[in-house]
């Protein structure tokens, strides 16, 4: 009897703990149990929480959900503040504007996990028309990475970003200016115009703003992904991405009810 009661309290606590989650009905739906009574009882018997592994675990998970909820909320607000940047004509993206989920990849052309993830991401982009994929330049591996990101934005100005991106992501050579310009040539770009655009202060300013977005989102390395309002760090597989997309869509469905 005592154990059943404890589990019941645990349930109430979990529900109370998770109350901040957007899809959570909140503590008022604990059926016949009054939240105030549950609270009062727990204040009198806090050892229930301390001694019971199941309860502890439930509390931990509820706490985690709350933290994730807060972090996701903060990310949504940051993304909203950067809407102009994400919709900027300098921002390379694929997929329709009517897509239900936006994925932002922060990457560096010299980052090994970024390159390893590239074919996986391509696979998802090819099979899921419901995502808008935004390419966030985050050059963190030095001068040639910065030059490559400038070149990528310059390539986007010529409407050949995807071709240039593919050429750089699949090259076997160590990145330097020769490799960057060779990739540009391979992608069919006007290299002279590309070089001029790479010097354009607007391009430099744009890259600073992308960096500011990454910092606001507390991105600490590449690749990092913002998928809807979730953040994933490190190289990912197509499966990882699809499963997060599934979670995000389920969340959208739930919140639209």
């Amino acid at each position: 009897m005592h154990r059943a009661l404890r589990n019941l309290f645990a349930l109430a606590l979990v529900l109370a703990g998770a109350a901040c989650g957007s899809s959570d009905p909140g503590p008022s739906s604990t059926g016949s149990l009054e939240p105030d009574l549950v609270r009062e009882y727990l204040l009198m018997h806090p050892e229930i929480v301390l001694d019971d592994a199941e309860v502890s675990d439930a509390i931990h998970k509820a706490g985690l959900r709350r933290k994730q909820g807060r972090a996701a909320e903060e990310r949504r607000s940051i993304l909203k503040a950067y809407t102009d940047l994400l919709q900027s004509s300098l921002t390379p993206s694929s997929g329709g504007t009517d897509a239900d989920i936006t994925v932002i990849e922060f990457y560096d052309y010299q980052c090994v996990p970024c390159r390893a993830s590239y074919p996986e991401l391509q696979q998802v982009r090819a099979t899921d028309p419901g995502i808008r994929y935004v390419y966030g330049q985050l050059p963190i591996y030095g001068s040639h990475s910065i030059m490559a990101s400038r070149a990528a934005i310059a390539a986007h100005r010529q409407g050949l970003f995807e071709e240039f991106h593919h050429a750089l992501m699949t090259t076997d050579s160590v990145l330097d200016m020769k490799v960057i310009f060779a990739a540009a040539g391979k992608a069919g770009l006007d290299v002279e115009k590309l070089q001029a655009d790479m010097r354009d202060p607007l391009v430099h300013q744009y890259l600073e703003e992308v960096r500011a977005l990454a910092e606001a989102l507390d991105i600490t390395g590449t690749p990092s992904f913002i998928i809807g309002d979730a953040k994933l760090s490190g190289g990912i597989t197509a499966g990882d991405l699809m499963s997060e997309l599934g979670r995000q869509r389920a969340q959208i469905k739930l919140s639209s009810r």
Partner: protein, 540 residues
């Protein structure tokens, strides 16, 4: 007869294009960064450019104390001071790169992983600890006395807040940039995700930070503000003093004089620097009211280089004793000998003091030693000495009797700083600060940092000439450009590249090839740069 020859030379110089005028400023007469110095500068700028949460080159946080003598805050702060010295002495007429980098380093300082150690460290008295037989240090928590602060500035922790104040003060005085006067410009965001608490924002600005620190000096009767609980370190208190000097300069306050005078009185009365050994104390135990004496090269170097700014004669009077004590034994000893736990950072801080007091011979000796033994490494145009994997626990000499372990603060910052910093380097910044004429004078901007390094940029007001030297950066480029600002439109200037006159520059006349006026009145110069090139733009 000599007068006739001089007149003839003058005529030739004026008449024949391409022949430099004898009185042209000579770039060799002005300070310029060497290849190695420029490498150190670029490494520190590269660190500033890393993402705020990227600490890959900076070592690891100590698992017991959550901070150490190699803590991130010290690396950012000393990189900031090193770049301040670089800008002041070598590139005062090139501001935007140093100003942006200064702001980036301040931004890195207020990233949570740099300062949130205080939420932990503020809970215990670091002086109250025991060592086990195995040599492990155990911190003794006293439960009834537990308390801690999230706010890294509000009380004690001058080992953080003092640096932040110095950095912000330097930023304002070197660049006449008042951004940190804005309320909330130094906002600390406490991470709720990690700590399970609601979000907290702690808002500071230059004035509030100054007030909080000055008030603590007063409350503590000028005996110095605690770094950790119950421990006052002399060197930690030097940085807020320098910060107060900058605040006085730009805000018209009179705070630093009082603090310097009274702190010095306490230092003398309590023997913070022992008159016998001429060495800086380890720390003052506040509750026990007990000075713990020591003879540490790092403490003398750290305290001395900063105190030298406001107590030059005294520091220079004790320096020879300190040098004699540390340098010979630091550089050569018995193979396998244990050098003690301070070895990975003794070297760097003492080298810095040697540079500040102008002991060029010792700086050269130590730089050469570092180059020979500390694995100098170039990455992306930057030069540094990578920290050794066991820097925090292996202090023995190698088989040749040499230092074998280098900590991150020494390798990333301090050796480079000492190599860059000229005699009285910091002294000049604080005692001969830039005035309004400096900020109104011609200077260059918009040099692509990837394509070119500026090794000197000086405006010589007596000769009314701007002297600039560029070297190629890590990215190969056919052409580089830079912008010259604040030239006087009423004047005509001559543009000289590598001793060859390229022509005259005036508001009306024809411009030399590769130059053009921009809409905002600045002059854009585009040039090839395959090797070092010097430019002189002088009024005629």
């Amino acid at each position: 007869m000599p007068a006739l020859i001089a007149s003839a030379a003058l005529m030739i110089a004026l008449i024949i294009p391409g022949v430099g005028f004898a009185a042209d400023p000579d770039p060799a007469d002005y300070p310029a960064l060497s290849t190695e110095q420029m490498g150190h500068v670029r490494h520190m700028i590269n660190i500033a450019n890393d993402l705020p949460g990227d600490f890959e080159l900076l070592g690891e946080i100590d698992p017991v104390y959550y901070m150490s003598f190699d803590a991130y805050q010290f690396q950012f702060a000393f990189a900031h001071y090193a770049l301040a010295s670089t800008h002041y002495h070598y590139t005062p007429a090139y501001r935007d790169l140093y100003k942006d980098t200064s702001a980036k380093l301040i931004k890195r300082m207020i990233y949570k992983d740099v300062w949130d150690y205080w939420a932990h460290v503020s809970k215990f008295d670091l002086t109250d600890r025991t060592e086990t037989e195995a040599g492990e240090v155990m911190v003794n928590y006293t439960e009834e006395d537990w308390y801690g602060w999230i706010d890294p500035n509000i009380k004690k922790n001058i080992m953080y807040s003092g640096h932040l104040l110095q950095m912000v003060g330097l930023h304002e005085s070197l660049f006449d940039d008042h951004r940190y006067d804005e309320p909330g410009s130094l906002t600390f965001r406490y991470a709720p995700v990690e700590y399970g608490q609601p979000p907290v924002e702690i808002k500071y600005d230059h004035n509030r930070l100054t007030t909080v620190i000055y008030d603590q000096f007063v409350e503590d009767h000028f005996r110095g503000i605690e770094c950790e609980r119950n421990a006052v370190y002399a060197e930690c208190n030097q940085h807020p003093i320098l910060g107060l000097m900058s605040h006085d300069l730009k805000h018209g306050t009179e705070l630093s004089g009082e603090v310097r005078t009274k702190f010095k009185q306490v230092m003398q009365k309590r023997n913070y620097i022992d008159p016998e050994t001429k060495s800086t104390m380890y720390f003052l135990k506040v509750k026990q009211d007990e000075v713990v004496p020591a003879t540490y090269a790092w403490a003398d170097g750290w305290n001395g280089h900063a105190q030298h700014v406001w107590d030059k004669e005294y520091i220079e009077s004790i320096y020879p004793y300190q040098r004699e004590r540390y340098i010979p034994s630091m550089l050569k000893g018995k193979p396998g000998e244990n050098m003690g736990w301070t070895a990975p950072f003794d070297f760097g801080w003492f080298a810095l003091l040697a540079s500040e007091v102008g002991d060029k011979e010792t700086v050269q000796l130590m730089s050469d030693y570092a180059d020979a033994n500390f694995s100098p490494t170039w990455i992306d145009g930057g030069l540094y000495y990578p920290f050794t994997p066991d820097y925090s626990y292996n202090f023995s000499r190698d088989e040749n009797g040499l230092i074998q372990n280098v900590g991150p603060v020494t390798g990333n910052v301090l050796i480079g700083f000492s190599r860059i910093n000229p005699a009285d380097g910091l002294w000049h910044i604080y005692n001969r600060p830039f005035d309004s004429s400096h900020f109104a004078s011609p200077h260059i901007t918009d040099v692509d940092y990837l394509e070119a390094s500026v090794t000197q940029a000086v405006f010589d007001s007596k000769k009314d000439a701007l002297i600039v030297t560029l070297v190629p950066g890590p990215v190969a480029s056919n052409n580089v450009s830079f912008t010259v600002r604040q030239l006087e439109t009423a004047k005509t200037y001559e543009l000289i590249k590598d001793e060859k006159s390229l022509g005259n520059i005036s508001a009306e006349g024809q411009l030399p090839s590769g130059t053009r006026w921009q809409d905002n009145g600045s002059l854009l110069i585009t040039t090839t740069l395959h090797e070092q090139s010097s430019f002189i733009i002088k009024a005629i």
